[in-house]
Amino acid sequence: MTKLEKLVLVTVLILIALIPASGSRFYVFLVTDILIFAIFALSLNLMLGYTGLISFGHAAYFGIGVYTCALLIKKAGLDFLITLFAAGVFGAASAFVIGLFCVRLTKIYFAMLTLAFSQIVWAIAFKWNTLTGGDNGIIGIDFPPYLDSKVKFFYFVLFIFALAVIVLRKIVNSPFGRILVTIRENPERTEFIGINVKLFQLLAFVISGFFAAIAGGMFCMFNHSAFPDYLYWPISAEVLIMTLLGGKYNFFGPVIGAASLLYLRMLSTSYTEYWSLILGIILCLLLFFFPHGIAGFVQDRFYRWKTTK
């Protein structure tokens, strides 16, 4: 990370931290939502942008995080922080088991298998009434005493977000991260230079599952509830769109994508009930005109401006 980037990051984090001072409950709510989905999208991008694996079932790990937190708090009466950690571990463990099967396949078949597994997780949450409450979900999950207000929870999410950014940033800039990029660029050649491609893909899958589940655990507390809808396949599609909207070849792309998409949704719901239509049109514009997302577009413009000067 260059000095300039560090400076920008710290400034942005400080600016976000100042939001509650404005007294706007609306923005505290919106930014908490954005930060949670930003972690989710960052976790997906470790697979999508860095390793080149299209996961079409990432809602599964997010949802596993949601339900781990909800069940451990409601049924076992555990503390939120412990359940959040447990959510991460469960997410990573299930990503490991599912990943073992998925990494054997490539491209479209990989995407299909991740989708199939996520649908199984969804079906379990939806149908196992005695445990998960089925369609009625689990409700009434209260803030723990030390996070007893929306503002305190906001700072907690911001702290976890900063932590996730630092850790993921370290991962992608490490030799391990470089190998992931090599795999994305050309799996066959990576295999030829003696790297166990499947193993590294699986590791990326597991790390990604961990962070997705952490995001899910916080989303559960944010909504005070768990519903099967949180892990239905359109959520997987939505987080993919966020990542692409921001730009998958930029580390902060998914964060920008999550922020833009959720902000637009908030904005649109006050004018129209047809959010799907708007999202569909945004997606079309993105695919046809800005294939590298917002971050890619800005980078490209910046580069051109620099070279012409």
Partner: protein, 298 residues
């Protein structure tokens, strides 16, 4: 739990009926994948449009005694034309791009069409009544079974055979099969591959819409039916083999029957059985029961 024979027979017949609906949708999905290499999420939306258009045409031909038959003739054609226009204007620009781009474009269509349907027809449920000939039920081992379902069970295989005959014996059918094998060589032989793609997309949309038109009297027409059906269609083509015609038929039978028999064994888990079958197939034979392994990069 009782293993009443007539009850099981009825469940099998119900499964067969569902299998035929799924087959119509999945066969279109499969042929589009086979030729264009696109996994079309919007296929479920064309099915939904087919059902809504049937509702619309039934209300247009409300004076005719044959309103249902007119509707199931015209509705799929209208949707197929719409599919052709989409392919010509939008899809065409995405050929040769990343798979993810194509996949997400079809998802964008899902989003747009789901809201357009809400805007045009509202969020309430609609229904289409069965044609007079097919009202009532037949007696099967002492249980009542709707005549309309019998009609579907007979019609499904007929359409399958006609379609198979088309693929096997006609000029366009041969070209479609050739395109599924090797698009570039076909183009080099002087076939207008772009036009072929449009035609395949029209046929695929027509099949999906026909499925929607035929399902209209058997269910309620409502927003959200697109998302429910597309996953089932995916499962069918994965089980049967992406791009394999009879594989799709076999996959539909498996999904339809496993689902309706699964309900007898474990009512809550019957949906899980199907996902488990799909996962087993993807792990053991990723190219499906009757498909061929991919040798070339698509």
């Amino acid at each position: 739990m009782t293993f009443d024979f007539s009850f099981i027979a009825i469940q099998v017949l119900n499964g067969l009926t569902n299998a035929m609906f799924i087959f119509l949708i999945a066969s279109g999905l499969s042929i589009i994948f086979g030729v264009q290499g696109i996994l079309n999420f919007a296929h479920g939306s064309f099915y939904m449009l087919g059902a809504y258009m049937t509702f619309q045409f039934v209300s247009i031909f409300t004076d005719s005694p044959h309103q249902f038959w007119w509707a199931i003739t015209f509705a799929p054609v209208a949707v197929a034309l719409f599919g052709g226009i989409i392919e010509r204007l939008l899809f065409r620009r995405l050929y040769g791009q990343e798979e993810l781009t194509q996949l997400l474009f079809t998802y964008a269509l899902v989003l747009i069409l789901s809201d357009l349907v809400r805007i045009v027809w509202g969020i309430e449920q609609h229904s289409v009544s069965r044609p007079a000939v097919l009202r009532g039920a037949v007696d099967i081992f002492g249980q009542y079974f709707p005549k309309y379902n019998v009609f579907i069970i007979i019609l499904g295989p007929c359409i399958a055979f006609l379609f198979w005959f088309f693929l096997l014996r006609t000029r366009w059918g041969r070209m479609i099969r050739a395109a599924a094998q090797d698009r570039e060589t076909l183009g080099a032989l002087g076939v207008n591959v772009n036009r072929l793609f449009t035609i395949v997309f029209i046929i695929g949309s027509w099949l999906a819409a026909l499925g929607g038109a035929l399902v209209a009297p058997a269910t309620s027409i409502r927003p959200g039916m697109d998302i429910e059906v597309i996953i089932n269609a995916f499962i069918v083509v994965v089980i049967g083999g992406l791009g394999s015609f009879w594989g799709t038929f076999l996959g539909s039978l498996i999904v339809g029957i496993v689902y309706s028999l699964g309900i007898i064994v474990a009512p809550r888990l019957s949906i899980v059985f199907i996902y488990v079958i799909m996962i087993l197939i993807l792990i053991i034979r990723p190219w499906g029961l009757l498909g061929r392994p991919l040798t070339l990069e698509r």
